[in-house]
């Protein structure tokens, strides 16, 4: 899985220029809408359908990368 693409999708989802792996996902930026936008984008890009509960449990961008890698 292309890590840079995932970082780009996270950045697009939370409407910032770029993000780093260490960025902490706070509730005000990582709400239920952001989570499904992220999943929808991953689905479009990689054909993956991820579990929203798993995605919502992520504390950092690195956690997201790990979850996506696990498929």
């Amino acid at each position: 899985m292309d890590k840079d693409k995932i970082l780009k999708i996270v950045a697009d989802t939370i409407e910032v220029e770029s993000v780093s792996e260490s960025l902490e996902l706070h509730e005000d930026m990582w709400d239920s809408l952001a989570i499904i936008v992220f999943i929808a984008a991953l689905n479009k890009e990689f054909g993956l359908v991820l579990n929203p509960e798993k995605i919502s449990s992520a504390k950092t961008v690195q956690d997201l990368i790990d979850i996506v890698a696990q498929g």
Partner: protein, 342 residues
């Protein structure tokens, strides 16, 4: 309460108008039903082996209420003497023993029923056709009804306020930043535009929170809907129903029915809209939306309880601004109804 005219208005509204009671998707199964209270009356809609029937929930035998609960699956059997309505017929135990009466004419007290798309309306003695009552809102509601997939929540309780106070609260947005500061205000709804369709009205407005608005747009392609509006909208479906939605991704149907002792029988139903294949992850979004919806209406109930019945009148509010136009129109309509103008 001081304003006794409210009882009269309630009676007229209950008896003379059609009421939006539900969506066909709620009644797909045989014996599924919805029950709504309107003051001392009740409306039940149920699935009788594929046919939707509306009645007053009273057994024609001794007048007992047949169904309890607000929705569910149950045969239409009176718990008192087991009179049962099924497949369009009333089955009466020991029927032959009823010799001193015209027992063959016994039937449940059916109410009028009509449809706008997949929305179900019922009425006790409506004075006009549903088409006339919905006026210019009919085609919009039809479109919305076809976008709805299923009911995900049915939440009901009493508002400690009279129903016009609860409805007027739903008709204005000025309270959103204070009453809903941790819920609906996050959308930063704009002033928007009001429109009127007979006694019904609508509010269409943009989502001012750019981040949320952009994200809402991004998931549009996951939905299989045709009646989409890129923002927030709500409709007063006169006399007692409100329908609201953000982007058409889900719908909240609220009924604000007159209740006893200056209360409002409130119910809110949350419907998801149709999603495309492989978009089941939207369920997560719907579940969160249900929670927020519940919070919003609790907040509304709390603030409405602060408005005593004496604070409401048929006159236009003394202090109002443009966004109160719907309240002015609503009160004008109530006044006309009281005068006998349907």
């Amino acid at each position: 309460m001081e304003n006794n005219f409210l009882d009269e208005i309630s009676e007229i509204m209950i008896n003379d108008f059609w009421h939006l009671v539900g969506h066909k998707s709620e009644l797909k199964d045989n014996h599924s039903f919805i029950k709504l209270k309107l003051n001392i009356k009740e409306i039940v809609i149920f699935n009788d082996n594929g046919t939707l029937v509306a009645f007053d929930n009273l057994c024609p035998h001794r007048g007992a209420r047949i169904l309890s609960g607000k929705n569910g699956i149950s045969p239409i059997t009176c718990p008192y003497h087991s009179w049962t309505y099924t497949n369009g017929e009333l089955k009466i135990p020991s029927k032959k023993k009823f010799t001193d009466c015209d027992i063959d004419s016994a039937d449940i007290n059916k109410l009028d029923i009509d449809f706008c798309g997949d929305f179900i309306f019922a009425g006790f003695k409506p004075k006009m056709s549903l088409k006339e009552q919905l006026s210019g809102l009919k085609s919009t509601l039809e479109g919305i009804s076809h976008d709805i997939s299923e009911r995900l929540d049915f939440n009901s309780y009493k508002f400690d306020s009279i129903f016009p106070v609860a409805i007027e609260n739903a008709l204005e947005s000025e309270h959103v930043p204070t009453v809903h500061k941790n819920s609906l205000s996050g959308l930063k709804l704009q002033d928007g535009e009001y429109s009127f369709f007979g006694k019904n009205s609508a509010w269409h407005t943009a989502v001012g929170n750019e981040k949320i608005d952009k994200n809402l747009r991004k998931v549009l392609e996951n939905f299989d809907i045709s009646s989409q509006y890129p923002g927030y909208r709500n409709y007063l479906i006169f006399p007692f129903a409100m329908l609201s939605s953000t982007y058409g991704y889900s719908y909240s149907l609220q009924n604000f029915h007159p209740g006893k002792n200056d209360k409002t029988y409130f119910s809110n139903r949350f419907f998801s809209s149709k999603v495309k294949e492989n978009s089941d992850f939207m369920d997560f979004f719907f579940e969160e939306s249900v929670k927020i919806n519940r919070q919003i209406f609790r907040e509304d109930a709390e603030v409405c309880s602060r408005v005593p019945s004496e604070s409401w009148s048929l006159e236009a509010p003394k202090y109002s601004r443009g966004i109160d136009d719907r309240i002015k129109e609503y009160r004008k309509t109530c006044k006309l109804i009281l005068k006998g103008d349907k």
